[in-house]
Symmetry: C2
Subunit: 288 residues, 2 copies
Amino acid sequence: MDFRKRFIVEPGSKFKLADFNPADKGQHENHQAAAAEIARHADVLARLQYKLYAEGKRSLLIVLQGLDASGKDGVIRHVMTGTNPQGVNVTCFKQPTHEELAHDFLWRAHHHTPGCGEIMIFNRSHYEDVLVVRVHNIVPRSVWSLRYERIREFEKLLVQAGTQVIKFYLHIKPEEQLNRFKERLDDPHRNWKIRESDYIERKYWPAYIEAMEEAIRETTTKHAPWFIIPSNHKWFRDLVISSILVNKLEEMQLQIPKPAVDLKAIRLRYHSAKIEQDHNAILEVKRT
Amino acid sequence: MDFRKRFIVEPGSKFKLADFNPADKGQHENHQAAAAEIARHADVLARLQYKLYAEGKRSLLIVLQGLDASGKDGVIRHVMTGTNPQGVNVTCFKQPTHEELAHDFLWRAHHHTPGCGEIMIFNRSHYEDVLVVRVHNIVPRSVWSLRYERIREFEKLLVQAGTQVIKFYLHIKPEEQLNRFKERLDDPHRNWKIRESDYIERKYWPAYIEAMEEAIRETTTKHAPWFIIPSNHKWFRDLVISSILVNKLEEMQLQIPKPAVDLKAIRLRYHSAKIEQDHNAILEVKRT
C-alpha cells in the first residue's frame, strides 16, 4: 500500500500529533507478517541507490527527528544497512561547536547536504534549532520564530538544485520511551548509553510536542513534506519508512546513463585477438 | 587461518609485487567453499564495529589502493555493507579541487580521517600523490620523493592519537583487468562507466607497479602496515580482507563502556510503581 497518503502532513492542514496513533500497525498482525516486505524493500532500496549514484545528477536528503529512544538509530541500522556505504552518509547533529555557533543556524546543515548521486541521512537536523533551542529558551522567541521561513527557503534551494528532501518524525508514546529506557537498563550491550539527564528531559515532553507540532505545520511543504511515522512498533516504523523511501526513489525515474563511448568500437579496438600482443608487451616490460 | 602473516609486507624487507600471486586462492576451491566464512566475518565485523563505536576512544582507517577494476568498490560493497552506515564512512579521492591543490598534499586526507569510534575507508588515498602524480610527472621527483617520509610521519600522528591504520593493495594481473573491462561492456548496468582513457592508461601499467612497489616499501611500518591482497578472485579478496579486519579489531580488545550511572538507583528512581504518576502527569498536561 502507499503509506505516503496516510502519514503525510499536508501543507496548510490543521495538523495535530494526537491525530496519529503511535501504536498503529496497519494491516499487519506482527513483525513476522511484515518481515518479508521489509526485506524486499531493502533489496529494492539497494538497487535504487545504485541507480541514483550511477545517474549522478540528483540526491536524497532524509531528515530523522524524534525524541530520545524513538528509534532514529534503529531506522538507520535496519533500513539503510543493505545499501552501499560509498553512497550513503549520516550526519549526527549533536551540540553545535564553537565554530558552528559562530555562524547562522543553517550553516552546519548546509555543509552536510548530499552531493549528486548521494543519500544523506540527518540524524536530528537543522530542526533542533526550533526544538531544543525553543524548549530550553536558548534563544528568544523573536529569534526562533523567524527560522521556519528560513528553513522553508533553505529546503527550496536544495530541491531546486536536484535534492529530494523527505522528513520523518518518529512518533512514540511517553510510556514507550520509558519502556525502552528500561530495556537499556537490562541490556549490558546498551546500558552504557544511559544518562540521568534523559529521564529528567522527560518533563519537557509536552513542550517538545508543542514545538514539534508547530515546526511540522510551518515547514511541511509540497517539495519537502513531513511524514508522521507510528514508531511504538519498531518493525512497523521500518516498514513504513522503507516503503515511503522506495516510492520516493521510484517516482524519481532514475536512469542509468547511456555509455559515453561507442561500445562496438571499444570492443574492436581493445578486445579483439590483437589485444593479446598488447598484454604480452605489458608483461614483457614487467619481467625486465 | 591468520592471513596477516601471509600477506603483510614486513618493514625493511626486499619486497616485490611479483612475489605475490594475484590468482592465489589459499586452501579454498571456489567461492562456495569460502562463502560461509565471509558471511561469518561480516557478522563479526558488524558486532566489532558497534563496540568500536560504543567505546568511542579509538578509530580505524582503511586505505584501499589498486589499479582500475581491481575491486576497491567491490570490497566496500561486499565487506562493509552489513555495518551500520552511522559509524562507517567512505572518502573517494578523485581529482583534487583547486582548494585542495592550494594546500600540502596531506591536507585533504587529514580532513577526512576518522573520529573516535568511527571507521573511515579511503577509496584511493594520499598515496595517489606518489602514484598517479609520479607516473604522469605531475610534480618532479624532487617533490614526490620527499613524500614517503611525510606519509610515515602523518600515519604515526594518527596512530598515536588512537587511529589504527591498515592498508590494502588489491593485486590483479593485467589480463584480469581487461577481463573486467570486457564484463562491463557486456553489462548494461555498468557500461556507463567505461571510458576509453581507462584502456589508454593500461600502457602505464609497469610504471604504476614500479611506483606502487616503492611506495609500499617506503611506507610499510609496524604501526601502519601494507597488505598485498590477491584479487583476481573477488571472493578470495573479500575473504582475506574481512579476515584481516576481524583480526585487527579483535586484537584491539574493544570494550563497551561501563554504565555512567548507578543502574540500581536509576531503576528505583524512574522505574518503580511511582513512575505511573509521572506518566499520568505528562499525559494530563498533553491533554489540556
